[in-house]
């Protein structure tokens, strides 16, 4: 708590120092964007120093011993904790809140769109709300699964006691609050209204809030880069003895592939936003067509990250869903190796498809064919993953609890999203569908269907592990059905609206489209309402749910072999991996053995499996 308070004070002081110094040197007004930029940067440093970097790294840089804080209980969650499980929960809580905020913005949007003409919002205000909804939800989609389950589960699943860089992990999380503050503070300078994509030329001439958007999102990018670095290093260097690459749980592979993408490509997003900031603040002309710049450059840089980013969103989702399906179907994951190859090839292909967002942008014609082809190539590995999900369930012993419900719904949602995506990857159809509500419906099926439903699958599947308590299954299934039906009624009409000419990102539309819009809006409110039930389910289960025990799903992977919640360094003895993670239906199959330190520290694990593990030392 003291750290958090100190961080807030240092952050505010840093902002004032940076802004006022810039103002004194340069003149002008204190609200100028240059002052905001320097204020934000110094404020961010102050925040990080206050939250814990000052006690650890900075002291060590000057040869002093790091200061340790003994904090226990719930207060750990409000401070600079290096425990990956605490950080996972911090991510989870933060992004559930951001999700609800973004959802609120969605409700306002649908309220405005319920009827043609100007309603509660004028056109400018609509663009601002739409932009805020976009960027908040993109942030949730990028970081919610990887940040929470990635942090919480990856070290346990590979038999490690923490991430490779625990302090860096804490910094990665504590970079997120300044992002939220920066975005939500944007209205003080005039809200940004260029959408989450922030295309120039609009984004270099609009309200001052855009600069806060640029700063906040760049910070968010830094957080994802460092997070990805940490996950990859952890998986490569910290696997338990016997945990060969072929024995990694599939979620770990998914987190690995997604982290690869975010580690490398996020830099392009940072670059594009830094160039926007320079054009606004330092007088450069990268995107100013009048002075010889090229707005299309932005789109290339931006989509070089932002298309791969959708795989940062959904790959961990694939992992969560496949993990859930294989455990709850009591069958080994179908085509494990093919799924691994697919995950990695999606990560590889993702960086050569970006210009399919630009078929109507006026880029050179000869680029259309290759990018169309590469984009459609991605449906092959995605199809493999889809088939693996279905084939794992095939003739399985399905245990119809809430997590499996969500996973099955995910399969349907992702099918819808994937199939409609083909029309958008195809140049001839995309030329008509681009920027229409067809696109909106498509990416809500893929991102909301593919990522959010996987996130919910994960929440319901691992909630007993994280909190030690069971969720009310009946309420969970009611929530799943409620959400799913409302989802279909909200977004199915939008495909129709798109093909009938309704533009996205515009507050108004022709009157003849009113009926479908009204239906979509009413369903959206019903959808939004379902999240109140989710909050109730989670809170009531966390407070007075029945005790879960160590392994309520009777699952085989390592996180289920320790107590719920897991002890401080995850394992009391060193686990040794002796077999495949999903040995369901094979007599005598074992995934791991433990050297039980509690029993006098004498017991030795059997040496089985270590021979195979030796090759990746």
């Amino acid at each position: 708590m003291r750290q958090l308070l100190r961080a807030v004070i240092f952050g505010i002081l840093g902002y004032l120092i940076g802004a006022i110094l810039t103002w004194l040197i340069r003149g002008g007004s204190l609200g100028d964007e240059v002052c905001v930029v320097f204020g934000y940067v110094v404020g961010l440093i102050g925040w990080l120093f206050g939250i814990g970097m000052g006690d650890t790294w900075v002291r060590e840089w000057f040869g002093l011993p790091a200061r340790e804080f003994e904090v226990t209980g719930w207060k750990r969650y409000l401070g600079f904790s290096t425990d990956h499980k605490v950080i996972g929960v911090q991510y989870l809580a933060t992004f559930v809140v951001v999700l609800l905020l973004g959802g609120l913005a969605a409700m306002i949007i649908r309220f405005e769109l319920a009827q043609a003409g100007e309603g509660i919002l004028n056109a400018d205000r609509y663009n601002q709300v739409m932009s805020m909804h976009g960027i908040l939800m993109v942030a949730v989609a990028v970081a919610a699964i990887l940040g929470s389950f990635g942090n919480y589960l990856v070290p346990i699943m590979i038999g490690a006691d923490d991430m490779a860089f625990p302090r860096l992990n804490a910094v990665t999380f504590w970079l997120i609050p300044p992002v939220a503050i920066g975005l939500l503070a944007a209205p003080t300078l005039g809200s940004f209204d260029a959408g989450w994509t922030a295309y120039p030329p609009l984004s270099i001439v609009n309200n001052g809030g855009q600069i806060l958007f640029v700063l906040a999102v760049t910070t968010f990018g830094l957080s994802s880069i460092l997070g990805g670095l940490n996950v990859i290093t952890t998986i490569v260097t910290m696997r338990a003895p016997g945990m060969t690459w072929g024995r990694l749980p599939i979620f770990v592979w998914a987190a690995f592939a997604a982290s690869m993408i975010s580690l490398l490509t996020t830099q392009f997003f940072a670059a594009s936003l830094i160039l926007i900031a320079m054009d606004r603040v330092a007088g450069t002309v990268f995107f100013d067509g009048g002075a010889g710049g090229d707005p299309l450059l932005y789109q290339h840089l931006f989509w070089f990250y932002s298309h791969p980013a959708v795989y940062v969103m959904v790959l961990p989702g694939f992992g969560v869903v496949l993990e859930t399906i294989t455990h709850m179907s009591r069958k080994p994951l179908f085509a494990y190796k093919a799924v691994v190859v697919s995950l990695l090839s999606i990560a590889g292909l993702s960086v050569i498809v970006w210009a399919h967002h630009m078929f109507t942008s006026g880029m050179a014609d000869y680029l259309h064919g290759p990018f169309m082809f590469a984009s459609e190539m991605i449906s092959v590995p995605t199809g493999v993953i889809f088939l693996s999900a279905v084939a794992t369930m095939w003739r399985g012993k399905l245990w119809m609890k809430t997590p499996l419900f969500f996973a099955m719904i995910w399969v349907f949602q992702f099918l819808m999203g994937g199939v409609t995506g083909i029309f958008l990857a195809d140049v001839v159809t995309d030329v008509s569908l681009h920027d229409s509500y067809f696109v909106v419906a498509h990416f809500h099926y893929t991102i909301m269907g593919g990522m959010l439903f996987a996130f919910l699958t994960g929440i319901f599947f691992w909630f007993p592990k994280i909190t030690g308590r069971m969720i009310n299954d009946r309420l969970g299934i009611i929530f799943a059905l409620w959400l799913t039906i409302a989802f279909q009624l909200t977004f199915l009409p939008q495909f129709w609206l798109g093909t009938n000419g309704m533009n996205r990102r515009i507050a108004d539309y022709p009157e003849q489209l009113e009926g479908a819009n009204l239906m979509s809006s009413i369903s959206a409110f019903v959808l939004g309402g379902s999240f109140l039930l989710l909050v109730y389910i989670l809170l009531s289960a966390a407070i007075r749910g029945p005790k879960a025990g160590d392994n309520p799903w009777n699952a085989s992977t390592l996180e289920w072999q320790v107590s719920s919640p897991p002890p401080e360094h995850n394992f009391s003895g060193q686990p040794t991996i002796v077999g495949h993670p999903y040995g369901y239906g094979t007599a005598g199959s074992r995934h791991a053995e433990f050297a039980d330190m509690a029993a006098g520290g004498q017991a030795q694990p059997k040496q089985a499996g270590t021979g195979e593990g030796a090759d990746d030392e």
Partner: protein, 195 residues
């Protein structure tokens, strides 16, 4: 870079076995990621201004800067090798040489910027690319100098030895990386194309 200069707090006995590998991999991943950042800026230069060059480019100064930076990489390498052999005095001398060369480089960039402001201001298309690329690189040089300073000071205080000098190794690798990026930026701005 922060994680390259300080080892993480210990957690278990297993720590000793994976820590060196984790540090190295972490640093290389970070450098790979940074390469993408520089790649984005370098390709932006070619997209917006092709290989166009203004008439008044101070080629002599740029060549001098290049030599300074290359020399600093050699002294950084010697500093690391000295620490690996527990030669602390040589370490300090070579580290200081590196830092001074880095500072001279920044002074040179300052002179370069000052001239550039009159010859090709930032609101020209070559000027945009020039200030952006050199500025990004100079920022990295600055962070590199700060990190070198921290490691020099800790080495001076006796925190490192031949079997325990990962921070020296990490910072020096980072410095080589910054040097390498200049080797890509220098031809991008000064050598390719021409009037």
């Amino acid at each position: 870079m922060a994680m390259t200069t300080t080892p993480e707090a210990g957690h278990s006995q297993a720590e000793a076995t994976y820590r060196p590998a984790a540090n190295r991999l972490g640093l290389w991943l970070f450098l790979a990621s940074e390469t993408f950042l520089f790649a984005a800026f370098i390709s932006s230069r070619f997209v917006v201004s092709g290989t166009e060059q203004p008439e008044h480019l101070n080629q002599g100064l740029a060549l001098l800067l290049t030599l300074l930076l290359l020399w600093s990489s050699i002294s950084a390498f010697r500093a690391e090798a000295a620490m690996a052999h527990d030669n602390r005095r040589l370490f300090q001398r070579e580290m200081l040489t590196t830092i001074v060369l880095g500072l001279l480089f920044l002074v040179g960039v300052g002179i370069e910027f000052n001239e550039a402001l009159t010859d090709f201001p930032a609101n020209s298309i070559y000027g945009s690319a020039f200030f952006m690329l050199i500025g990004l690189h100079a920022f990295h040089v600055l962070t590199g100098i700060l990190a070198l300073g921290v490691v020099w000071n800790l080495g001076r205080l006796g925190h490192y030895g031949s079997d325990n000098h990962w921070p020296v190794e990490g910072v020096v690798k980072y410095w080589h990386f910054v040097d390498l990026m200049w080797v890509a930026i220098y031809p991008t701005l000064y050598l390719f194309g021409g009037s």
